[in-house]
Every structure is written in C-alpha cells, then in structure tokens.
Symmetry: C3
Subunit: 276 residues, 3 copies
C-alpha cells in the first residue's frame, strides 16, 4: 500500500496540533552544545522542555514526562549512567524514548556506550547516514558528526537496525527516511542545506521526535510527523530569508517559522510519501 | 504608604544606569541550558558576567564579584557543592546572592538540594508561582519548569518564605511580585507571554536581579528594578517585532531592546506600584 | 621587512577559502557558555566542529581532527584531564593546538591549571591583554574575563611568552597582535566594540584560529588570517545592522557575515600590517 502526500497532510497537521495543545513535557539528557536550541525548538513547537541529568532525579523526571530524549553528543562517564537510567525508566514506564547517536563511529568509547544504550530499548533512533550505519555495525566513515555517506547506503543498515532492535529508525539527510519494524517506510523530501550549517538542527529533530511521540502513540507516525514538520520548517525558513542572509538569520527564522507554522504553509510545502 | 508608577520611574532608571556605568561582575553558577542567554542578557544590561563552578575557585570568584547567582536548573552532585560554597562565600563576604529554584518540586532530589541551599541564606529568591510554593513547603503542582499555579495563590507562600528566611522573594508570572521581609511589596505589570516561549528568560531575570543587587544595596529595590527593567524590555520587544515574527526573532529583539533601552521608553512602558 | 595591507589580502583570502573547501574537523574542549556560538562560528566559516571532553575519547578525537582547541572558561577537575590529554595528543600527533586562557589571573586554581597546560606546548595561545599578562607571569588586573589592561601593556608579556614557550601568541583587543617566536608581528586593526558585548566572541576567535591552523601550516599566518577574518566580519556586521539594533541583532548578523563574506568585502575592509 502506498500513502501519498495528501494522505499525510492531515496526519502531520493533527500531530502538530496535538503537540501545541497538549504541550507534552519532554525530558532530555542531551549534549552541551545544543541545550538552548533544543529547548527553544521544543518551546516553538509547543512542547515543554526539561533538561536534567542528575542520576538522583533522572528516573523521577522520566516518569513525569511524556517522552525521554537521550543525545550522546558530549557524553562522559558522569552522564552515561543518567542516560542509561533515563532509557531504562522510560522503557519500564511505557514511555516513548529517542536515542540520538551523535558521532557514532567517531571513537571506540562512543561505540561502546551506544551498544549499551541500544540494549536499553529506545523506541526511536534518529541519526545521519553514517551514524545509523555505525550503529548497525556496518563500516561507516564517520567524520566527526557530519555524515559522509549517502542516505541511500544507510537504508539497508536502518532496515537491519529496526528489525534487530524493534525500534523505529530515522535516517536523516537530504531526504529523511523513517522505518518501522513492521516494514512501514516514510520518505520526507523537505528541508534545506542550510539546516546542516546551524549547530543542533539535527539534534533538535530528535528532540521533536520525542515531543511528537509523547502525543502520538504510533511511534512511526510520530517520527514521520516530527521530521515532516521540521523539514517543512527548515525549507520555509530558507525561502523566507533575504538573499544576503547567512546562517545567523537563518537560525532565527527557523524558530520563527517553527512557532508560527500554519496548516496552509504545511500543505503547500510538504513532500512526503510512504509505503506500508 | 503607597508608591505609584511615577515614584518608581526615577529609581528604576537610576538602577539601570548604575548597572551600565559600574558594570558589576556577576558570578553565576547556573544551568547548562541558559548559560549563553544569561551571559548575553547581563552584557546587554551592562554587567560583566563570569560563569564558573569549579569547587577550587568558586569562593575566590564569589569574593571578587559584586553578586552571586545560583540556578539549579541542571544541578548534579558535582555542581551542588559549588552552589553551596558560592552562597556561603557570598553570605560571609556580605555580597548579595540570588537563588533561582528552577523546577522546585519536580523531584525529591531537587527539593532536598533546595532545602539545603535555603539554609545558606541567599539574600534574594526568584521563581515562578509553583516553584515558590514548593520552596515554601506548600503543595505545588510543578510540571517541569513551568508554573501551573496562578501567581495569586503563590503570594501567601512568598510571604511565608520572606518571613521565614529573611530574604527578598520574587514571584514572577503575568505580574511580578517582589516581597521584602519588612513588608514592602512591589507589583510589576509589564512583560509579554512570548517571554515564556524562549528558554532562559526567567533565569535571565534572576541573573539581572544579581546585577542590580550588586549596585543597589537595598535588595528589595534592586529586585524590583531588575524585574521592572526585564518586564519592560520583554514588552517593548513584543511590540517591536513584525506580526509574522515568532520566537526566534523575539529572542533577538529582546537583547536589542535590553542593550539600548532609553529612559523615554522606560517611562512610557513601566507599570508598577508598591505598598510599604 | 614590512608587509602592508595589500600583501595580506591574498594570504587571508586564500586561508579563508582553504577552510571553506577543506572543512577541517576542529575538536574543541571548550567552556559551557560558548559551545553553541563557537560551533556556529566554525560552521559559518566552513569548518566542521566536534565538541567532546570524555577522557575516554579525547585522544581518539584529537587524532582524527585537524586541530584541537582548549578553552578553560568553565574548567573543573573533571574537564582538566581532558584538556591535558587533548593538548598532549595534539602535540604528539603534530596537530596544531590552541589554548584560550579565559579568565587567567581570576583565581589561583585557574592560574595553576594554565601553568600546567602551557607545559603541554599548545602551538597557539589567544587571549585578551590581562589574560596574556597573567599567563606571562606579570601582574595583571584581571577583572573576570574582560581585560582592564590596554593591549599595548600586554605586548611585552606576549613577546616574553612567545619566546619562553615557542608558541604563537595573539593578544586581542581594539587591535589584535599576533606574535611568532621568530619575531614576526602582525597587527590587525579591524573589529568593533560590539564584539565585546556578545558572549563568546573572543572564544570564537580562538576556535577560528584552530580552524585556520588546520589548513595553514604556518601557525603565525593561520592565526593572523583567522583574526583578520573575524575582525573584518565583526566590523562589517556592525556596519550592516540598523541604527536601533542592539546586541541581539548584532550577534545574528555576525554569523550572517561570517557565512557569506566575499573577497570584495574583505578587500575593502581589511586593515592589517606586519613586520618580520
């Protein structure tokens, strides 16, 4: 069965509205570079961010939150136990959880931590192509945190990962792919290259996946809606800025569009399809 | 005795000018989400921020600073001793200190740490209604870091707190209330709902309270002036942005207004009153 | 021999283009206030930032990076070993490394850590006048992180430091001075006072020095080109903003100009000279 763009529109808009009206609490254990942007993106989308990593309170906060987001970008031995406990608590409490494997493959330490975190059964994983390939155990030429592998080459890895771990996997890039263990596959064709030139835009996608999963129980649909929203926002922002604007103004307008997106803007911009 | 808006204007403007001309050093032990915004707000106001949390230097820095600001938003067991030492040092050195009890009530850990920090006698406390109620030991429905209790319900808690601890207490919200142990009570009626949609705007208010307390020895007046300044800035920023602007442009203009506010702008916008 | 402005232009532009085309990976162990701005400045310049501090992976990341940048702004006992290892690894691997001695002189702890880090032979050091004077062991009246000493008074200290440690030293301020152990001395006369009113602009200069050193093997030239680029960007940004714009809009336009700077803009703005 194929789902076309029009079929998606209502679903994506309904999920955007659910985030805005329910204002889900999203608990992030995230990296030190993206805290402010992620919180601002969550606020712009209508969600309520809480960022906390103390082992003494992570379980309490995960239990009162609608979703947990773990991002290993600046992991260290003091934070990893909090990441583990946050994912464990989410799993036990039946809350959705998102793992963003930033820089997977860049160091042995990162790989070991990720292998452990995957055991704790995050319900969703979002990364770029090389991160997903690394997570899946395939060779990936990870250059820092930017992908050097085309998205296409990562799809096989993502399919292996979604089967092996039973989680929804999103490979983001020029096109975003969202794969479910039951074989559903969404392709989202929005976004803009400027999104890669502002730090934390990818991490913010993961934060949004958490927000949408908090209000939409179908994790695959939640992930596809979040990625659709963010890709559309990024594309409209690029269209809206003046020609001489660079990455500073783009980052500002990104939040402007995120916090004001209308159904009409979504409808005229969304390019998505899915097979199930 | 009642003080009306006009009586305030000169005091607030004098305090704003004192921050600008004296450029007080404000030492913050603050949370990982708001570091950059808080530093930029302090710089915009004319203060000089230093952010440091190493236990080995916190006392040295507190002693050379005009004020200490402690914000527990992303507390952990490595940072809490620095928060304790910073408050102790400020108290011993006779420096003003501000405690921002972010997320009070959200976890037992947070509550225990706050109870300890309150024992160290911060001279000012600023939080939203549910945080102040939690601090005061009353039931408060804290949903993450956003207040779900109306400001009015928190006033009794604030009054109890200011009496019990002998500190100035500010309950911020649609109206900001500043209470002193001697019974003085200022009400500030500026601000804008967009201020709640940019992360760190409340925490920045606490940072500003520190800056103003560094130059104005009357802690109650310093707090009222800082909150008046920030509320006026937030309101003018909301009036200045174009209609389609969202939270990104708003955050930018907030700093623009903070760094350029004139006496005339203050005079036409300030809405404040006090009883003593 | 004296080098005038025209002679510089080609060199600076060539280095800017090299960063843009080679997109060097720059590994930063930096402070918690400036992470996002530094990453965004590196991205705007065309470099690829990675920020990581776990002792378990710092050496791995330093080895795959083009340069290492260590910034002690929010140092603590958990991060200092990572700073040490990052500098040691860079030295052993023959990679350029930059030390930004934020707040040198503000506490004994900071001074002790800096003395240790200098032993690990960073290839470049960039700081303001009081920081460089403190590093060189001379009396410096460090008020937090802002210099209170004129740049001129620091030049003797910088010359002593470059001789003693064999590193390139940059003293930044209203004029930036770049000194090499072999006696070369560049003076860069761009920039704007607004650069001191946005947090992390100085730290971002250090990050850029890392990016330029990753593509330009002559460390003195790399440092001079990076400082020229950043000073020109800061000056053009100040010229471009509307009169009523404050520090918020300025910070945004700073990234706009950094990510779009043309050779013509550089040529009409650059003011530099050197003696060798």
């Amino acid at each position: 069965m194929n789902i076309t763009n029009d079929s998606y529109l209502d679903a994506v808009w309904a999920d955007i509205c659910a985030v805005r009206t329910q204002a889900p609490l999203v608990h992030s254990v995230t990296n030190l570079v993206v805290t402010a942007l992620n919180a601002n993106v969550l606020l712009a989308a209508g969600a309520s961010p809480i960022m906390a990593h103390a082992i003494e309170e992570v379980a309490d906060l995960a239990r009162i939150s609608g979703a947990v987001v773990v991002n290993i970008g600046t992991l260290d031995s003091h934070w990893v136990p909090a990441m583990q406990l946050a994912l464990d608590t989410a799993y036990e409490a039946g809350k959705p959880s998102v793992l963003d494997p930033v820089g997977a493959g860049a160091s042995d330490y990162r790989n070991r931590v990720l292998a452990d975190l995957m055991e704790r059964r995050p319900s969703l994983v979002r990364g770029n192509a090389s991160e997903i390939m690394s997570l899946a155990g395939e060779f990936a030429n990870t250059k820092g945190v930017d992908s050097t592998d085309p998205v296409e080459r990562a799809l096989a890895a993502a399919q292996a990962l979604t089967q092996r771990n039973g989680c929804v996997v999103c490979v983001s890039g020029p096109e975003d792919h969202v794969l479910a263990p039951d074989g559903r596959h969404a392709v989202l064709r929005n976004g803009h290259p400027l999104m890669t030139r502002v730090t934390g835009v990818g991490c913010s996608a993961s934060a949004l996946v958490g927000a949408f999963a908090a209000v939409q129980p179908d994790a695959w649909r939640a992930c596809a809606s979040a990625m659709a929203y963010w890709g559309v926002v990024g594309q409209i922002a690029a269209e809206r800025i003046a020609p001489h604007t660079g990455t500073g103004g783009y980052a500002t307008v990104l939040l402007d569009v995120a916090s004001t997106l209308t159904e009409a803007e979504l409808a005229t911009t969304l390019r998505a399809e899915a097979s199930a």
